[in-house]
Each structure stands twice: as C-alpha cells, then as structure tokens.
Symmetry: C2
Subunit: 514 residues, 2 copies
Amino acid sequence: MSFIARAASRVGRHSCQRYSFAALRSAAITDRFKSSLAAQAEVDLEELDTAAKTVDEALPKIDTPTDWSTFNPSKSGTPSPWAVFDAWGANDIKDGLSSEVEEAMLSAKAVAIPMDENDREGLPDESDILAAYNSFLQGKSSVHFGYPYNLMFDFREVMQFLQYSINNLGDPFVPSNYGVHSRQFEVAVIDFFARLWKMQPGAYWGYVTTSGTEGNLHGILLARERFPDGILYTSQETHYSVFKAARYYRMECQSIPTLPMGEINYDILAEAIAENKDKPVIINVNIGTTVKGAVDNLDRILRMLQQLQIPRERYYIHCDGALFALMMPFIDFAPEVSFRKPIDSIAVSGHKMLGSPMPCGIALCRKEHVQNVEQHIDYLNSVDTTIMGSRNGHAALYMWYSLRKKGVEGIKRDVLHCIQTARYLRDKLTEKGLSCRLNDLSSTVCLERPLSNDFIQRWQLACEEDICHVVVMPNVTRSKIDKFVDELIQVTEKHGRIQPVREGSPLMQLSATW
Amino acid sequence: MSFIARAASRVGRHSCQRYSFAALRSAAITDRFKSSLAAQAEVDLEELDTAAKTVDEALPKIDTPTDWSTFNPSKSGTPSPWAVFDAWGANDIKDGLSSEVEEAMLSAKAVAIPMDENDREGLPDESDILAAYNSFLQGKSSVHFGYPYNLMFDFREVMQFLQYSINNLGDPFVPSNYGVHSRQFEVAVIDFFARLWKMQPGAYWGYVTTSGTEGNLHGILLARERFPDGILYTSQETHYSVFKAARYYRMECQSIPTLPMGEINYDILAEAIAENKDKPVIINVNIGTTVKGAVDNLDRILRMLQQLQIPRERYYIHCDGALFALMMPFIDFAPEVSFRKPIDSIAVSGHKMLGSPMPCGIALCRKEHVQNVEQHIDYLNSVDTTIMGSRNGHAALYMWYSLRKKGVEGIKRDVLHCIQTARYLRDKLTEKGLSCRLNDLSSTVCLERPLSNDFIQRWQLACEEDICHVVVMPNVTRSKIDKFVDELIQVTEKHGRIQPVREGSPLMQLSATW
C-alpha cells in the first residue's frame, strides 16, 4: 500500500472509527481527517501527497548498488557510502544454534573467574572462550530485528585507542586536569547536533551520554531544577526512563493516555494542565515512542500551551528523541523539532540511528538550564554538570568518526533506507494477511505477536503484551525481511495467531486502526 | 621513613597535636595512640609493627624483574604478570609539547563536523587527525600522576568485539530479548566480587556500571527506597557523587566534618545520629576518600550504631569503595570491608585499580534491596533494576578479561606495587623537605600544591585548594617518580612554595599532622 493510498485511507471508515473508538476526548474535527504528521507540519492532504511522491522518487532502490554507493553490495546491507565493514555479514544469516561445544564454552561454569589456582583448574583458556563468544555474537547480530540499534558500523580505524584510558571527566567544555580525554571530539559532536537542531552559537550546552536513559535523566533533572514544584506530564507509552526520572527525583508525574497510534492524547493533556495551573508545567515530548514509533505533535502541544495561556517562564519541554531525533532532520518534509521552537532540552541515542559498539547518546539543552545544576569541583578542575562524573571518551570518538565519515548525506541515505525498507516489510506482512502498522516517518513496524518464543528469541523481537515490533535499521535488508516473513508464516501456520489479550490491548488498537 | 618508624611516631608529639588540634570532639583516649587502621583492625602497635615487617618482606622490589614476573621489564612498569602491553611506553616519558602541526590537527576548527560539502572543504583527513590524536594520548598517558586510573592494560584480544553493538540492557541476571550481550561475562564479574566481599551465594545482586558515580547513585537510591525518610550521613571529604545523589533524590543529607587525615569525625557523626533518632540512618562509608585516600573506620561506625542502640532494621550502610575496595581485600593485614558485616551495598570502579579503556565499575548489594526498585519492562523482557537502561557490554568484558588473566595473585602484586612505590615517593619528597602525607594502606600521596600550573598540567595533578595528590598506580614507576621529583624541585626553586590559603586548609592539616 503506497504512502498516498494510506493517506487517502485516513478519510475512510477505519480512520473515523479509530478516533471515535478510543479517543472521544481527542482531536478537533478539522484535525480528524489529517494524520498527526499533517497537522503538525500544517500541510493539507494534497501537500502530503506531493511530499509522498517526492519521497518515493528520492528514495534509492535498496539492494541495488547505485552510483553514489561505494560499498560492496555483496556484503553490506546499508546504503551508507562508508559502511564497508561487515565482519559478521549483514546479509549472511548465520543459521542454526551454536554448537554444544560453543554453548559449553560460554556457560557460567566456563566463564567463572577463579579465586585461586584450585578454582582455575579445568577452566577453558580465555582465547577459546572468546572464539566461541565471537561466533555467538556473529549469529545474534545477523538475525537481530527487534531493537532500534544500527549494527552496521566501521570503527577499525579508532580501535587502536582502546589502549588508552580515555575519560572526559567533568564538563565537555571545561578542560579538567586529566589529560587523556577526547573533549575536542565531544565538543565537535555537540556542535554538530546544536547546528542540526538549530541552536544559536553560544546558547547551548550538551554532552555525550552513556545512553538515551542518561539523556532523559539529565533533561528531566534540569526541568526539576528549573521548576522544583513542576508537574511532569508524559504519555503512558513513554520510555520507562522518563518515569524512572520522576521517581528518582521525587517529582509529581502525570501519565497521560495515548491515541491508538501511540501519540499523547492532546485533549487529556490539555485538561490535566488546565486543572493544575498553579504548578509549573514540565512536558516530555516523545520524538518516537519506544514501541510504536509515534511522534508526539510538538506544534500542537505548543499551540495548546498558548491557548491555556501558560507563559514561557512557566513551562519546560524535554524531547525524548531516542531514535527519531536523528532521523527527522534528514527527511525534508518532516515537521521540525528544533530549538527555534520554545523547547528546552533534547536527548538522543548514538547507538541507535548512528550505530556504536556501546550505548551512548547526546544531551543538548539551553545553556541557562545547566547553569542551575553546575558545581565547581576543585578535584577535577572542572565543573560537575553531567550525571556521571567519569565519562567514556571512546563513545565521543565513535560518534565523531561516524558523523564525520558519513556526513549529512550518508545519514540521510541510511534514514531513507530504513523508511523505505520498513514499508517493504509492512507491505509484505499486509500481503500475507497479518496485522501490522507503520507510523508516518517511522521505521518501526508493529505486528501481532508470534506464538512462538523460539521465533521471538531468534529474531530478538521486542514485545509488548500481544504485539511486537521490528525496527528497520541500516543492517536490516530486504533479503533478510524475506526470510523473516517466510519463517513467520511457517510459525503462524504451525501455532496459529494470537488473539487480543484484553479489551483495548495494543493488538486491538493496531487492528482497529489498520 | 619506614612504616614502623611512622607507626612509632604516632605516639609522639605530632600525633597528639594532631588530635588535640583539630578533633577535640573525637577519638577516645585509648584510640588516640593508635592509627585508625590499628583501631579498626583491633590490633595493637606491636601487631602493627609485625604486620609492617611482613609487608616489607612480602613486597617485591619494583623495577627489578623477579621470578614470578613474566613482563618485559624494559617496557612495563607493572609487576602484573600479564601486563605486557605497553604501546605508549609506561617507562618512556614522551617529553615536550606536541608539535604545532599536531596541535592544529586537534583544534576545534580541524575536528569540526561539516554540515555540507562546503563546510568540508579544507578540513584535514580523519586519518591525519587520528594520528595526531594518538600522539597526543601517548604523551598524556606517559606523564599521568594525578588520578587513580591504572593506565596499564592489555585488551588486544578483546578489541575485535568492537565490531558488535554489545548491550546488556536491563538486568544482568534476567536475559532480555536482545541477543548481542555479554551477560554471562557480567555475571561472572559480579560473582567474583561477591566472593571477594564475602557474600553468600544467592543473597546478592549487582551489575557492571559505567562509573563509580553510577555505583554510588545506585547504592544511595537503594538506601532511599529502603528508608524514604532516612537521613544520609557522610563526611565532608566524600566524593561529590554522593552529595549529588542526595540532591537528585531529594534526601536530607548531613555533611560530617573530618579528622585531619580525612576520616569522618566519628564523635560528630554519633552526635548527629543521636540528635535524629526519629529518622532512619543512611551512612556512606568512604573506603578511601578521593583526595587523601582516607578509609573511614567501618568497625568503629558499626560499634557506634550499636552503642546508640540503632537496630539493624533502622540503618543502611553504603560503602563508596571507588579505588580501595579493590585494594584492601588483597592486603592480608587490612581491616575487612565485606558483607559478613552489616553493610548493604558497595560501589567500586573498574577503571581505577583494575584499569579499563573506559570508565566502569561494580555495584553490589543485598538482593532484597534491589527488589524494592525492580520494575518489569515488557519491551525488554527483562527487569529495570539499574540506573541506565542500555548498558555497555564491552566494559563487562574488559573487567572479566582482566580479572581472569590477572587472577587474585596478579591484582595483589599490582596493589603491593602501588603501596610500596607510594612510600618511595613519600620518602623522596620528605627527604627533599616538602610537605606530604601518605595514609595507611593508601597509595595516595598528598603534597603541597606546586606553584606552577604548567607543572600541574603536565603531570595532570588533582588539586584541592593548597594541596594536590599523586595516586600511585601500576603505571607509575620509580624512574618516573625520580623525574617527577626532580622537576618539582626545579619548580619549587623557581616559584617558591605555597603558603596555606586559610586557617585549617588542607595544607595546614597536612603539615600539622606530619
């Protein structure tokens, strides 16, 4: 089903049913017949159709080497011109379970750390364990579909730095006395994101985090320091790290219901804020929810705050951009999430869209907020502004290398690959009669949960109640999708299909809206 | 000055002056003539002398290859039998500043990430930048003295895994659906520490953290969840991460003054607790303070709680073991810090004593505490028990490899090297007439702050007001110390010596107690 056909279907029965079914308190009539994307970008359906055509034309045909591509198409699954490193074989599925020998080599008994020479007796050699582990990782990486991690990267040139203990302790912008750091690279990465998200020079602060969670913990912390008695509003489909932050920081938090497609229910949000006008407002905006990849409509939330007459000095907006904040700026017709709008902080992961051997991310905010938490630490000769004190300098280096080698064009190609390949998967599943859904601008395909745990484990699918999802990343290729769907059909024939586990379950919403 | 001579000097004038001078509210008469170590280990001075002799005999002569050593003594500075990897040259000081070309290559302008092809024009090639960076890191690593990081490690064999995105998301003991993990290694590392710290099988929980800070944030969080209205007591020389935890978690925190050598002032602590008997007690015990390497006397604190009749169900003890919790178990006569005593959690760093390319650590606690914070996350098919959601699987692998290759004997040798070499430094400084101090069992030598920022920068000394410190780690050798002291004398002759910056400043305490 094409993008245009889907857009057209929104005015049809299902779409109406969707809104009336689960969101009675939601969306004004005029918004009802637009997708949230359309509402956010303030375009009508005609514009959307044009945009869709442009995208379809712009999208390279994946799995076919093109002129701009310098990669080895027989091995690589990503259209990024620099992704030539494919030691584990993105296209080569390593089938079958590990051998018994391998499994034994990775057992608790084999990898135990001895306390003395008696303990050590009979333990396998470390090199043999590591060889088995390599084989294990190869297999697992080759059939990974469920989490939004780009497993395709090439850091051979920066591996050498593992011989150094690189620690950016303290603040990225304030050199500490410890000299073995990668601050210059970290600052370059922050500067890049500041430009990407349209921040004025000198007006921002940020750092390379150890994960998306740390970015959220940091953003919500800044919000609480800005408004010690503020209420945090966030949708119930928000990543657990945001609720965790509220719990850690002892903040009042309101979990707002969602629309069936996963966006926050704007009307309920507005009501909740209206009821608590004596308290400052802290909103976490999901730039891509974890499970459905739904993007909360920032513009609509801002309009709502305006309508409620909440002045700028009474609200703080944090954007959890885990995966999507690094995708949306590279799609020409996507709504803009940037600091040109009155937002306060963004968190994004580095190991997701960009890809990295270890989890990492970026926290970016307006400079004045971090000044609220800054503490000078004599011992560091720097300031304590980050959650962690000691910080992984290698992660900054990986992000720097990746951004510099790929360039904006390279990332754009990766992003388009993901979106187009996700559509391929959605269409294929639909063709086979399976329930599934793909949000606009998203590469996250939600589908009914297969009734085989072996299958779920094999493809490492992330599940929630009666649905699961596939996040199409640069290492997910059409040929892998073909194999995935074939196996899924076999599983379905053998075990049948899951029934909704409860009234209003994710699967019920997914089926109702499709 | 030998260990024995120092012990003897404690009964002399200086020692008495120290206690009467700055800790009127402290130490009972009987404790006054023992070092805190002696008090803690419940040994008298005679036993201490014997212990000192034993250590002196046990200590290998560093910089001289010995039988048990398999390293290349011409290159390596560590007595660990496996530390043969010395790409940057622990004994070869890379002198002089980087060349101008190198500096230009690492400038903000050169490492900037271009937004488009125009931006890219004129930028140096990444490989040239990385070559300059390698030279920069070599230089910085070769003259690092100030932070407690073991820069000597050999991870060539595990470098290959950088091609995988290894993420132990969720809990170490509960497999998630994401298959590219290193959980089996993480669990082996946790099991090792549980045995080291004498925890019963099945009674503990822990994980590999991204830094010592995360371990403290986790331990203090568990404490707060156990006692939501508990008061956190910790000495004012505590690492800033503990105060940060209290601030994040909105806990009442009392910062207790210290004795001149850096331990918590036990009498003031007792008074503070006695005054707040209506609130549960949370104590952070420093197993090595950041600046002076002072170890809070756990046994004395426990006795005090008993005397105050605080029952076990009304207190939580977290031990911040950053560096020392990985040194003390390897010194035969050190007081025992372990779960055989009524403590609740320990945090230790992995990049400190053990050495790692990136910051990491271990958080270990009694299992029942983590059950208070556990949340099942459908999406992960695991539980959320750690601070971070996505977690660096490589760090677990580095710790595992290091522990397994070194073994308890290897770490013991590293520890003894540090303690003996720190004494060498202290004696050398004393001989030159400079003020300095080395706590028992510590490898942290505090000295007067040199009056040259260039010197401080060059040796990357951590400073606090008018003192600085050198932490002797496996990569700090006697020949480097000779060079350091020579340069320090030159600097002192040129710039003079610092005067105490205020009444009761760290330098004043250091001079008074020496």
